[in-house]
């Protein structure tokens, strides 16, 4: 069990913000911190790692106290057994992939874990390459493996996937899950992608302005609508075209996809280019409902 009680005044974009959380995380679980940028997610990880000073609070990891401001206990980052995967990977440019992992070994640790991890992330071919020769996804895998070399008590991943394309992302999610399951390691993942949170985690903490506003099972917490037989998605109107008869075609951008939706001319009046709309359909009958007007019109 991991107990985090953290208080810290942070310098946010619009002035000071008080980060104040009190949470527990089950041993061996994979949890996510979800929220907008600036909500304090990365600061929490940095405080657990000992890279950021905590004003008041305590950190207990599996019965060991890493921090207790009241008793004056504060372990250095070196003394906390953590795996930390930085957003910008932070691979050492002067070392090859394998050397990066070997560097992470503790004194007297059996080095066979290095080969084992290289095998898991499937980078045997590239193990003697320097990091600058690797693609973003490969660097990420090395950073993940390096964070695992010490067999840390807690693995923390700071938005590891945000810089990657969709395809690479889902592959990396699988690597993370594989490692999480194989080593049964308590893992904290930062994400601002709903589908990622739902796919990856057992428990989600929703952060806003330094506070935990919601927590629980990701599927029930983050899907606003109950699941039913309807198809639903949200998109932005990028064009409205008049056709013959009384038909119009509205083109929507949703994610990276364009979708044409036929609509009667008299209904089109209320829509403008730039509006955000929710499309729902009971298979054959698309219904368009406005959820936000374009701000400039």
């Amino acid at each position: 069990m991991i107990q985090l009680i953290l208080q810290k005044e942070l310098d946010a974009v619009n002035g000071k913000m008080l980060l104040d959380i009190n949470i527990t995380i089950d041993q061996g679980s994979l949890v996510t911190f979800y929220g907008n940028s600036g909500a304090g997610k990365t600061s929490i990880l940095r405080m657990i790692a000992g890279l950021l000073k905590v004003d008041k609070g305590c950190i207990r990891i599996h019965e060991k106290t890493w921090l207790d401001t009241e008793k004056g206990v504060c372990l250095k980052p070196q003394q906390r057994k953590i795996g930390f995967m930085f957003q910008e990977y932070a691979l050492f440019p002067n070392m090859t992939v394998k050397e990066n992992l070997l560097f992470a070994l503790e004194k007297g640790q059996d080095p066979s874990i290095v080969n084992e991890l290289i095998e898991i992330i499937e980078l045997e071919q590239l193990q003697d390459s320097k990091p600058q020769k690797l693609s973003g996804g490969q660097k990420q895998r090395v950073a993940l493996a390096r964070a695992m070399v010490r067999k840390p008590e807690i693995l923390m991943l700071d938005e590891p996937l945000s810089a990657l394309h969709h395809h690479m992302r889902s592959k990396l999610q699988d690597y993370i899950l594989k490692i999480h399951q194989k080593y049964a390691i308590t893992t904290i993942l930062i994400s601002h992608d709903i589908s990622e949170v739902i796919k990856m985690s057992d428990h989600v903490f929703v952060l806003d302005q330094g506070q935990i506003v919601k927590q629980g099972d990701p599927l029930t917490l983050l899907t606003h609508h109950s699941i039913n037989n309807n198809v639903q998605f949200i998109g932005e109107i990028i064009s409205i075209e008049k056709k013959e008869n009384t038909q119009c075609i509205i083109t929507l951008l949703t994610g990276a996809n364009f979708i044409h939706i036929p609509i009667e001319e008299k209904k089109v009046q209320s829509f403008r280019i730039g509006d955000r709309v929710e499309v729902s359909s009971d298979v054959f009958n698309p219904v368009l409902k406005k959820i936000a007007t374009t701000p400039n019109m």
Partner: protein
């Protein structure tokens, strides 16, 4: 032609550069990462040889090193070291005089490294020392080389400081730049020209090396 002044010049530059490197790495590390309030003052002291006339540095070192001063007296009576008109004195003066040329490139090298590299090493359980030698220094090799070369070249070009505290003792303190001045005074333009030409060529190639390295023409070599 007497080669002794040239050899002495390079001996002085070599010894100075090696000692400077040892002194400058911790100093540059502190300047790059410290948040101390006295940092600007230390930075100013390190940079002052860039703008002060060498004779000013030489003059004050002369006062400090002279046996009539407290420090000079103590060095002389307890350690038996005399710094004035000696090679040791020249080395110490050269270290002070060339300090910014070694410290500045190394400090800039540290400052340009991403701080997450250091943090990544710390969270992997590595000490500050190990991080310095295994992560920081190997990743600022071009800066180290620039510092080494600039400090070496600058020491070769020393004149005012040497003249003030070293004087003109053949084999001990008569370096090439002093020898040139000496020869010109004695109207031996030919040997003055020989010394000058050799220094000219050597400094040209030393500085060329710096620009080749900084222009990343050698990047492949360093990676």
């Amino acid at each position: 032609m007497d080669w002794q002044p040239l050899l002495l010049t390079f001996k002085l530059a070599l010894v100075t550069t090696i000692l400077l490197l040892i002194v400058s790495i911790p100093l540059a590390y502190w300047l790059a990462y410290s948040k101390s309030k006295i940092k600007p003052i230390i930075e100013t002291f390190v940079s002052m040889p860039l703008v002060l006339p060498p004779t000013v540095i030489g003059f004050y070192l002369l006062l400090v090193f002279s046996p009539s001063s407290m420090i000079g007296h103590w060095l002389h009576t307890t350690l038996g070291i005399q710094l004035i008109f000696s090679f040791k004195g020249l080395v110490i003066a050269s270290i002070i005089y060339s300090l910014p040329f070694m410290v500045h490139p190394i400090q800039a090298g540290f400052a340009n490294l991403s701080s997450t590299l250091i943090e990544a090493s710390y969270v992997l359980g590595k000490s500050k020392m190990r991080t310095l030698f295994k992560i920081l220094l190997p990743n600022i090799k071009p800066s180290l080389l620039t510092g080494i070369i600039l400090a070496f070249a600058h020491t070769i070009g020393e004149f005012g400081v040497v003249l003030m505290i070293g004087g003109n003792i053949p084999g001990k303190t008569k370096v090439a730049s002093i020898a040139i001045y000496d020869e010109v005074e004695a109207l031996n333009y030919d040997s003055a020209n020989m010394y000058s030409f050799i220094l000219f060529i050597i400094t040209f190639f030393i500085l060329l090396l710096v620009y080749v390295i900084n222009g990343s023409y050698l990047k492949r070599f360093w990676r």
